[in-house]
Subunit: 249 residues, 2 copies
DNA sequence: GCAAAAGTGTTGTCCTTACACCCATGC
DNA sequence: GCATGGGTGTAAGGACAACACTTTTGC
């Protein structure tokens, strides 16, 4: 070992009594129920949506909550989040990322339950909900005033995460159809960032990045000049994505 | 409620059986021991350090690990992290932020234990370790090759977090003495980002931000021309910090 | 006086922003 | 032909990167 230490090793060193039985140690720890909650964002009709179900707890009657479930024994939390998504929506192959763990001991009326929030983004058009148990539905993010548990707080955190993330990472493309117009792309950014962007500069920016493939196709069924349809070049992005740079606070 | 839904409410709605006894529900969930691990970064002798102790598990004899402990009953995890820091180092009033939850079921040899990593940064000079149980010491981050549990992976994640965070947030000032020279500040950034920066541009950048207070004092005991000492204007920063802007991936 | 680091400005390039007009389509 | 949004260029200002010499101090 070449580990360097900066304090004196001569003093203050007490003999460590090594623990032989790790299982016994772990058995002595308090245990807590763990759940995962999936905060699934979608985009439709120029609005950012999130997928919710009615809470099935009587105390939260009528309130909405995220898709969630407890983590099984020996189940990694990432796996649990994917499982919940699959079981509740029938969807697979979506982006999913751990955002934050919520541990307020009074967040669940049934006693202490820790939850880990996962964010996911998916294309509403390409994922028709196969199951609608508990009134599973897309809700306009901006219209949500109250939720069951501490889910409103979780939503706020996840929404902030999304706003930040989409500026650094092209997550937005997961929310759009495979082929999309630049107007749709801009609407998506405007909806998520809750702002207006200059159309010309937005186009310049994205063309300069050079991750858009011109399909040669055009929009259809629009009551005005149809826009060109593009695809996102995921491969090229993966190869050339760059590190954040610049001190900026 | 003005919540808008985008799918049909007429079909697919099954009657929900509401759960009356939330406590009984929670009691049926599997339970998992939870720990917090404190990844405490410091800066000394132009090197980024991290605070480690010897693992007290025999199976990890000789390996290093973070300061950690299980979360008490009804203890919020943030509080647990602060508690661990206080109990093990006697330190208080430091920055602490939740980074990520690690849930590999085999990460602990005594069975499944979930851990939540918290990052903290502190000034080695101003926090002399009052307790040195288990050979508590500062280690050069770059020299650490192996660790107990999955702590090397946790370190990697937290180091990446730190690199990203310090570009957006002036965390670095927590690692420096109250009064510091621009050279020390630059050394800190170079150590954390593992890169070389142009001295003139670095100075320009920080002066332009206008968060530095000129103390009028100078370095002492240096074998060359002494540099001016500055303080960081935390108040001004808090008032004027701005949002991230610009699509950039 | 020499070594070592502090301190300082300019220039070119690139990115960002602001802004206005013509074009293609459906009706 | 008119309403609607698609598509385009330019100029000014600001940020960033590259770069070299003089100053101050300890020894």
């Amino acid at each position: 070992m070449t580990i360097e230490t900066t304090a004196q090793t001569e003093q203050g060193v007490t003999e460590i009594t090594l623990i032989k039985d790790a299982e016994k140690l772990v058995a002595s720890y308090p245990r807590v129920p763990i759940t995962v909650d999936c905060v699934i964002f979608g985009f439709e009709e120029n609005e950012l949506k999130v997928l919710l179900i009615r809470s099935d707890l009587e105390i939260f009657k009528g309130e909405w909550s995220f898709l969630g479930d407890f983590a099984d024994n020996n189940e990694e939390l990432d796996d649990a989040a994917y499982r919940v998504l699959r079981e509740r929506t029938g969807m697979d192959d979506v982006y999913l990322e751990q955002v934050k763990t919520f541990s307020n001991p009074r967040r669940h009326p049934g006693g202490r339950v820790l939850t880990v929030a996962y964010c996911s983004l998916l294309n509403i058009q390409h994922h028709h909900l196969k199951k609608m148990d508990n009134e599973l539905h897309w809700h306009n993010v901006n219209a949500i005033k109250t939720m069951a548990f501490d889910h409103k707080e979780i939503l706020t955190e996840c929404y902030k995460w999304l706003q930040k993330r989409i500026l650094e990472h092209p997550l937005g493309f997961n929310l759009l159809p495979e082929k999309f117009s630049l107007r749709e792309l801009q609407n998506l950014y405007e909806a998520i960032l809750d702002t207006k962007l200059d159309r010309r500069n937005f186009r310049k920016k994205f063309f300069a990045m050079d991750f858009l493939i011109d399909t040669g196709e055009f929009e259809d069924d629009v009551p005005h000049r149809p826009g060109k349809l593009y695809q996102f070049n995921f491969d090229k992005y993966e190869k050339t994505k760059r590190k954040l740079t610049g001190i900026d606070f």
